[in-house]
Symmetry: D2
Subunit: 329 residues, 4 copies
Amino acid sequence: MRIGLFTSGGDAPGMNACVRAVVRTAGAYNCEVVGICRGYRGLLEENFFTDLDRREIMSLRSVSGITKLGGTMLHTSRCPEMHTEEGLRKAAAILEKHGIDCLIPIGGDGTFRGAEELCDHWGGKVVGCPGTIDNDLIGTDFTIGFKTAVETAVSAVDKIRDTAESHERMFLIEVMGRHSGYIGLFTAIAAGAEIVAIPETLEGIDEIVAQLHEIKDRGKKSVMMVVSEGDDLGDAHKIDEALKKAGNPFPTRVVKLGHLQRGGSPTADDRILGSYLGHAAVLGLLEGRTQVMAGRVDGRLVYTPFTETYDRHKPVPREMIDLLKHLAR
Amino acid sequence: MRIGLFTSGGDAPGMNACVRAVVRTAGAYNCEVVGICRGYRGLLEENFFTDLDRREIMSLRSVSGITKLGGTMLHTSRCPEMHTEEGLRKAAAILEKHGIDCLIPIGGDGTFRGAEELCDHWGGKVVGCPGTIDNDLIGTDFTIGFKTAVETAVSAVDKIRDTAESHERMFLIEVMGRHSGYIGLFTAIAAGAEIVAIPETLEGIDEIVAQLHEIKDRGKKSVMMVVSEGDDLGDAHKIDEALKKAGNPFPTRVVKLGHLQRGGSPTADDRILGSYLGHAAVLGLLEGRTQVMAGRVDGRLVYTPFTETYDRHKPVPREMIDLLKHLAR
Amino acid sequence: MRIGLFTSGGDAPGMNACVRAVVRTAGAYNCEVVGICRGYRGLLEENFFTDLDRREIMSLRSVSGITKLGGTMLHTSRCPEMHTEEGLRKAAAILEKHGIDCLIPIGGDGTFRGAEELCDHWGGKVVGCPGTIDNDLIGTDFTIGFKTAVETAVSAVDKIRDTAESHERMFLIEVMGRHSGYIGLFTAIAAGAEIVAIPETLEGIDEIVAQLHEIKDRGKKSVMMVVSEGDDLGDAHKIDEALKKAGNPFPTRVVKLGHLQRGGSPTADDRILGSYLGHAAVLGLLEGRTQVMAGRVDGRLVYTPFTETYDRHKPVPREMIDLLKHLAR
Amino acid sequence: MRIGLFTSGGDAPGMNACVRAVVRTAGAYNCEVVGICRGYRGLLEENFFTDLDRREIMSLRSVSGITKLGGTMLHTSRCPEMHTEEGLRKAAAILEKHGIDCLIPIGGDGTFRGAEELCDHWGGKVVGCPGTIDNDLIGTDFTIGFKTAVETAVSAVDKIRDTAESHERMFLIEVMGRHSGYIGLFTAIAAGAEIVAIPETLEGIDEIVAQLHEIKDRGKKSVMMVVSEGDDLGDAHKIDEALKKAGNPFPTRVVKLGHLQRGGSPTADDRILGSYLGHAAVLGLLEGRTQVMAGRVDGRLVYTPFTETYDRHKPVPREMIDLLKHLAR
């Protein structure tokens, strides 16, 4: 077995642990791993990873000491060409030319859609790993990178709270998650934020302002509000404006965390999850599986067909929304 | 309902989030919370928490902004007197005197044993929360504090690896967990350690030395070994000696992390788990439960009788040991 | 001697260490310290700090364990009323009423201007401490808070670099410092940024684009550019646009760090500097000094008249600009 | 000019920034840099750094992105052979063979002694950089690595304080610095420790116990004591025993930080200092200097003859000891 391994889409902390686990597990089962640089684009350009000895097969040593690194050693990119008939045929031809009969893509829904389409033109097997900070894939409780993104956001809220308390202000902190409130919700609970605005909650501006008045009446002088970039109410600046118009009793400031959340050394959890799923992807291929994503659900390994992973919206857990409501006062 | 709330045993990061969740959830259901300082000892000494306004009932405000703090705002201690008939009677009398009809103890097996014994002398209800870094309680996948302890240990291994690589040495890093290899195993996987010695693994000194020779032969120049303080082979210094005698090919150094692992701001996960279980403990009391611990198993809330939580040894997951074996090369 | 102590203007990490040093040093010389909350506004509102025992004099214990906290325990605010004749008279009257004959304000140029004006209406003595992240005061090599702000910015650049390298992009990272390039310059050197745009450097858009082409030609695939919010070229988004128009060969993203830089636990340096200058302020008052700021220049304690601290622009060190030019390639 | 560059002795955070600055500055002046791996041992074994293209000259790219890394990319070791006549002759011969006419060693007093001896057998020029966490070299206010070691120690004390407060205990925390109290003293001030024991202070056990009783009488329930490993009173465990015998009123625990202090990403200050001094070393060679160390004193660049850097003990600043006495109560 000769496995093509790549990372694609937005980078996510823990991808490197996943790469290492694929290489090491493959080594234990005498499979070869070819590292494809820069995702689908690198595949189309035959841009393969070579180690110090210029060999194309990834050695056990080539992945030494990388679990602690953020980003992805294989680099990543977006590649529109892969959605064309021509691009797909070219990719299939290159895989065949290099004798690659299996693929392990690490990425999000776009990555898996691409893999799905590729399989119409190529006879190899594909098992994917969920690498995205958004945690928006069905078939795994958590995606690789999500926990680190939350940790980074929480530590930012902790820091900003120092200033909020010193100045007796309200801060709106915008976190990532265009279609999913996971990062926002988990950050808000962990950081003890008073207010959260995520795509999944329906509170309007007026309800929030009412809540802010209550908070003010209870004597609280600073407020932290976590806003998902994708909230229906608009982005943090727009929400800030709307709250002001509706009578927000607090002076406010806005902070957008942006790309800060993508990087940094992965948390222990993301390194373990990345290792676990990289290992599982190789096992899945050895068992003959294809067009599935390796995931972890309720502490158990689960393989889910690609199409099911991105078909439906993955809802944030109802009980976590309830928990936040009880605590944020 | 008037709830007595205390933390007991070793402090664990996330205990404060749990305290906050109890106070806030109780407030939402119109229950009163009395904070008992310094665990059972504080109970026997009627040492109750009072806020700035000298009131004995914990207000919503009294727990503002504490999720990010390590340690426990209610303090903790060991209390041998609670294992005597006299101590138990006295504790029961004090609870009655103050009209406390429910207890929420946050701690480990010693804490729950004490609560169990107390119930022989007192008619109130008790629902506990698992607060210990060791993760050695049945009835919850993870205890409050475990994830932070792992994170701290992993970040220490990351730092020490810089020196190990620069000097081309082997380091033995001793982590906590007298009877349980959880911290050691999770740290080793996340930090990408080459060797681990935990109570649950049976490798002898000779096997380890053989492994070290293999590693050396593959050209690796530095090695990280994680050792649980409770390993059968003895503590890190003893293991180091034994490895030396058996022909360890690497020069070594030993670092014992010790109490470093207990403190520090909790990870997002421990804050969320603490919040979730503190909330669940109040709900459990409202439903009339008693002598149980609130836990989270496979993503679901579970109440487990105290006696079952500490009766058996909680084994580290077999699959994680296997994973480590595939990766640590 | 009865010292009024307050923090004013933007909060800066290390202010708490400074507060502690004032209280502890004053205690050693049998002086009383009255904590004035929320800067000049708190003074006008007679909003004084009281400890658990409701006493107005700050006890040694009231400042225990605060060196590690970000923000300021005395809170801070802006107060336009203090620039009116009426406000100044009122402030003077309140100080007299409470028997406060000395003041230690911790803040920036605005704070010292206010103190200067106050002295026209009040006969007490004032020694200030430089507390601002901007490092824009003459009379001290570094202000309290500057080093922490740089550390925070550097750690953000480190994180974002993971993503920049993974995606082979250029990032523009906007740091604070409206009139001063200190944070930008120190961050750029420490983080190994390729390009910097600070108020003090005169490079135009075309020079920067030429540099970017050189970098690209040398085979580099990711670039970090640090931008001071006050750069003449405009803010980060505007510079990004201008670079694009002038032919920037790299795809770009912008991150504005904003208020993240104000908070967080102070670095050791800021805690030591805060302690040193708080101590020095009390000694200065004991020696009869007034209308001066305590500072540290070339390792020595220096008192500088308030007016000199903000009169001139404090230039960034020429040698640091040269250093950056040699390294950033 | 062809410069041989190496790191030697204990690794120190910031060495990589120094290496980068040497390579980049040399490049700007058209000098070649040969990286010698593993200090003097690597020199004797002709173990030179080669980049991906197998070239022996360090390219500008070979040091990209290394400022943030702990340890040293050139590795380090101890080499007793270099103190023999034979070793020195061999080293000189190898330098001549490779056309190396200048050396930049980064290390501590042992490194500079070696360089001094080497110059008796070799006609090249040597300018050194102070790379050691101990800050025990005359001729520079701070050595590269010291500030990071203090930061690491302070953050450890912060964490342990959580536990100390929760359990109402005293902790003795042993930091590095066999002959120098710098790390101990700076850590104690920054962390707000109540007691410090460093080689330079003369307090006996009885004075310390008296102080502890005072602290206890003032109602304080937890105490942090920082101990330098080289204190005359003995190491932390011995001091703990002695305090116990002399009537220490607090229950105690001991934590030895050990090698934790050596590693980790360097602080901004150490990266800047490393950059500054690496740059200065090249300039020094260009000006024809030799057998000197580049240092920074009172904000100015200073070259000090090697022999003066290690001849005398570098005393901790008296004013910092006084400061600690005023604050630690």
